[in-house]
């Protein structure tokens, strides 16, 4: 299976996100170093590497969960490009609940486990001012259907859900307000293989349908092959190779990428 | 006709009179005097002074008497009194290195300059009830021996054990600072709190609470691998700078317990391997509290030392500081005794309505 190569046309004339010289270290140890790339609207960027490669640090810096030591993360807001690193926290948090979304590897980190499925999906709507219970509930019901959760589970709490359902619920909760940029941290990690496949399928459908811009971090090449337009391969905090997903996976140039690809193929 | 309950005022007065009678107890037994409490229940007095944040053994003894031996109630009395006292000035920092020690032990060195002094300790007593005390027998006087401080001389320097380690760079150096510490009793607690504020909160925190937190770190909830570097008890001089005189004068002595722990530390993302410290300083002879305080202090320092937050209660600054004060805790706990019938009434109405609706829905379904 090959990744859908979307035609990069008019909508892409201005990057949605520009990352310039991003570096973060922990004392003497490098988290990630000198990372630069552009992400265009509607594009899915995969970041792959083994654990400790710096991909999670990079994602945390991009999403504003962690302050980088140096570098800029420029996001094209409605009113123009803004460096989110130097932006006031108030503004960044406002952006995090409107324009941005973050899907955690562990759904427990991204869901309110004590709140019903409907409340989880409705929270972002209410955060941006929705005040009609019936409409919030209708939207939540609709979104549960889109992530294949039966409408009669709307008042159940996530604790009562399987791992796969929890993850789908987290996705619904994040996408309900139509974010312009979605960060995903190993969204299929920790799930059974069969459940992973179904979730990937669902994600691919949503990404296409909504034209989402996504940065997805994973160690699983199958995930990026299915979802990502472009790929960055990280090792030891540095990007060792990047390019279109198919090119990188089918014709890896860097020895480390070759190793990664071959180890997957052996499975 | 219904007569609404009245007479709260008489009820309160009567309750207070009864309380006073109960406090006195059987009048055929001699009344306990404040000097007796001060002299013979000294550790209770110490605890009330420490948690009441007021060094005054006479008032603490009075509070214990008035509170019928309820120490938290006594702490409360002292605190309420303390609030009304004007603040005349701040003493110079006390120098515990010039403490006239009555007890000084180190678990990390067999012997050390200044020596180990066991002092008046429960350690190594066999916990057997001493029925001679019940028979009001006289305790034989303790053997006197030359103290660390030779008679007739002022306090001598008793160097801190951690200073020996510090000379070799084996223990983390505490940066000196001339910044006046914040005052917990004059400013609202703002979080995150710096270490001086944390130490203030711990030293007046409830002994039981601080003890349990410290114990939890030993059992693995935020383990800090602590040894008692040094525990010392004794009196130190308090000096006050008199602006008119231009120098400091000694205004008295206070008894203190100081504990410094030496904690193993294998290094972190930001710090090299070296020993680290926890610190406890408490009014009076209160060594359980001082040791507990130093363990909790050390556990709370995870951030500055670049350690991981493992989710242990003792590492959680907001949890520890917001719940350490027993006067706050006991007041809020006991306020649920107060009438809440307005709130309860509104809950009643709600429950009745919800039940009525549920029953109606059920009947409609059937």
């Amino acid at each position: 299976m090959t990744a859908p190569l979307r035609t990069l046309t008019a909508e892409t004339d201005r990057p949605l996100l520009q990352v310039q010289g991003l570096t973060k270290s922990y004392g003497a140890r490098i988290g990630c170093a000198h990372i630069s790339f552009d992400l265009f609207p509607g594009e899915v960027m995969g970041i792959v590497g083994e654990s400790g490669s710096g991909k999670s640090t990079l994602l945390s810096c991009l999403a504003g969960h962690m302050a980088p030591d140096t570098g800029r993360v420029i996001f094209d807001t409605g009113t123009g490009p803004v460096d989110t690193v130097t932006m006031a926290e108030a503004e960044r948090r406002r952006m995090a609940r409107t324009d941005w979304a973050f899907v955690h590897q562990n759904p427990r980190d991204g869901l309110r486990m004590g709140v019903s499925a409907g409340g989880n999906v409705g929270e972002r709507l209410m955060a941006i001012g929705a005040r009609h219970y019936g409409e919030i509930r209708a939207t939540a019901t609709d979104w549960l259907a889109r992530v294949e959760i039966a409408a009669d589970r709307i008042d159940d709490r996530p604790r009562a859900f399987s791992g796969g359902m929890q993850q789908r619920l987290q996705i619904a909760r994040n996408l309900v307000t139509g974010p312009r940029l979605v960060f995903m941290d190993e969204p299929t990690g920790g799930l059974d293989v069969s459940v992973q496949a179904r979730l990937l399928d669902l994600l691919r459908g949503l990404v296409r349908e909504m034209g989402l811009s996504v940065i997805i971090v994973t160690h699983d090449l199958a995930v990026v092959r299915l979802l990502a337009d472009r790929l960055m391969v990280m090792k030891g905090g540095h990007v060792v190779e990047q390019g279109l997903t198919d090119q990188v996976l089918d014709d890896p140039q860097h020895a480390y990428t070759q190793l990664l690809v071959s180890s997957v193929l052996q499975v | 006709m219904y007569v609404a309950v009245k007479g709260g005022e008489q009820a309160i007065d009567a309750a207070h009179a009864w309380l006073a009678e109960e406090r006195r107890g059987d009048p055929s037994i001699a009344e306990l005097t404040v000097p007796q409490i001060r002299a013979q229940l000294a550790l209770a007095v110490n605890r009330v002074m420490a948690e009441g944040s007021l060094y005054d053994p006479d008032l603490a003894a009075l509070a214990i008497k008035q509170a019928r031996g309820d120490l938290i109630e006594a702490v409360f009395l002292i605190r309420a009194y303390r609030t009304t006292l004007p603040r005349l000035g701040s003493s110079r920092p006390i120098d515990t290195g010039r403490m006239a020690v009555i007890r000084r032990v180190s678990a990390t060195f067999k012997d050390l300059p200044g020596g180990q002094v066991l002092g008046p300790t429960f350690d190594y007593t066999h916990r057997l009830l001493d029925f001679t005390l019940m028979a009001e027998g006289e305790t034989p006087p303790a053997q006197t021996r030359p103290a660390v401080q030779p008679a007739g001389q002022g306090p001598v320097d008793v160097p801190h054990v951690t200073a020996f380690l510090n000379r070799d760079g084996l223990i983390q150096t505490e940066a000196a600072s001339d910044t006046p510490p914040p005052d917990l009793t004059r400013e609202p607690m703002e979080l995150p709190a710096a270490r001086p504020l944390r130490l203030q909160a711990l030293t007046r925190g409830d002994e039981g609470f601080v003890l349990s937190l410290a114990y939890s770190t030993q059992r693995g909830y935020g383990r800090t691998h602590a040894f008692i570097g040094e525990l010392r008890i004794g009196s130190v001089a308090v000096e006050l700078e008199i602006p008119e005189l231009g120098f400091a004068v000694e205004i008295g002595d206070i008894e203190l317990t100081e504990c410094e722990t030496v904690n193993q530390f294998t290094g972190s993302k930001t710090e090299p391997p070296q020993f680290t410290r926890g610190y406890g300083l408490v009014f009076g002879q209160s060594e359980r509290k001082a040791i507990s305080m130093s363990l909790v202090d050390r556990a709370l320092r995870w951030k500055e030392l670049g350690e991981d937050f493992v989710g242990a209660p003792a590492q959680d600054e907001e949890f520890v500081l917001m719940h350490a004060d027993n006067v706050q805790a006991t007041g809020f706990l006991e306020h649920i005794k107060l009438p809440h019938y307005v709130d309860f009434q509104s809950e009643l109405e709600l429950i009745r309505r919800l039940r009525a609706e549920a029953t109606a829905a059920q009947e409609a379904a059937e």
Binding site: R112 | A4, I12, A80, P188, E318, V327, E334, D343, Q345
Partner: protein, 294 residues
């Protein structure tokens, strides 16, 4: 304890100034919780120390003080606090709402409309309306700062999803002047509408939690709700059995062990005034006038 041993209204002048500064800041930023260095008071935390400190900072020798708890002047804690100020400040006290210049209250707003120049002081146990959704003070302060109030509505949403209605009956959260979400203290939601547009100054003191907040006169206060599940101020569906009032908040009194009960005004002064004016409820008898009572 005698008045001579302590400063007027117990607290020293410096402390009172510190509290007044916090009050002024609170009035300048309605609904914002101002941290203040709460003092230990001679009554326990949780028993109205915040309210007492605010009252102490506001009192002048010319004031007339009323203290109520659960709407009543004669509940034990109200008696205790009133006595405290009689001793330490020697101010005049009253049970009549319209005679008081300062009213300290726990859990109720008087039925009689307040007027300009009056100060209503609330005792607050937990000032943070977000506390039971988010236990961390550091986080809730940030949520207020950034107006991140989505979670508050999640709570109301959950209520409706589970019970078909908003199941918060007291300490019902409000939004002040379209900015801060505020806990009105544990007053029944029946009292919420009286918070808004009141001619009186409303001050809220939380001693243990070291917070003061305020509503200046004529502040807009809106109870949180949904468009299709609007806020309803509710009370027991009865009239007062003593004075016959149909619009006042009622206490339910169990009169025997056979399920007998009656409903009476929780606001004792309101009920007394109505009975003196000749109103009689189901189980009441015409009340003697004030003069006759004396």
């Amino acid at each position: 304890m005698t008045a001579q041993d302590y400063n007027f209204a117990y607290l020293d002048e410096q402390t009172k100034r510190m509290i007044r500064r916090a009050i002024l800041k609170g009035i300048a930023v309605p609904g914002y919780q101002v941290p203040f260095a709460s003092r230990e008071m001679p009554m326990p935390y949780g028993w109205g120390t915040g309210g007492v400190q605010v009252t102490a900072a506001c009192l002048t020798p010319d004031d007339t003080l009323k203290v109520i708890d659960q709407g009543a002047d004669d509940t034990t804690n109200a008696v205790s606090i009133r006595k405290f100020f009689q001793r330490t400040a020697g101010v005049a006290v009253t049970e009549a709402t319209d005679q008081a210049s300062i009213i300290q209250t726990r859990h109720r707003i008087p039925e009689a409309p307040l007027t300009e120049g009056q100060i209503l002081v609330y005792q607050v146990p937990i000032p943070e309306p977000l506390r039971f959704l988010e236990p961390r003070e550091t986080e809730t302060r940030k949520m207020h700062e950034l107006e991140e109030y989505g979670l508050m509505h999640v709570k109301l949403y959950e209520d409706i999803a589970r019970h078909g209605t908003i199941a918060t009956s007291y300490a019902y959260p409000v939004k002040v002047e379209g900015r801060y979400v505020m806990d009105p203290s544990p007053i029944p939601k029946f009292d919420n509408p009286k918070l808004s547009d009141s001619p009186a100054i409303q001050l809220f003191g939380a001693g243990r939690e070291q917070r003061i907040y305020a509503l200046p006169p004529y502040t807009q206060v809106v109870s949180l709700d949904f468009d299709d599940h609007p806020f309803v101020a509710s009370k027991a569906d009865h009239d007062c059995d003593l004075c016959g009032a149909g619009t006042s908040y009622l206490d339910e009194v169990i009169t025997d062990d056979q399920g007998g009960r009656m409903f009476v005004c929780s606001d004792t002064d309101f009920c007394r005034a109505r009975r003196e004016a000749g109103h009689v409820g189901r189980l009441g008898t015409p009340a003697p006038s004030l003069e006759a009572a004396q």
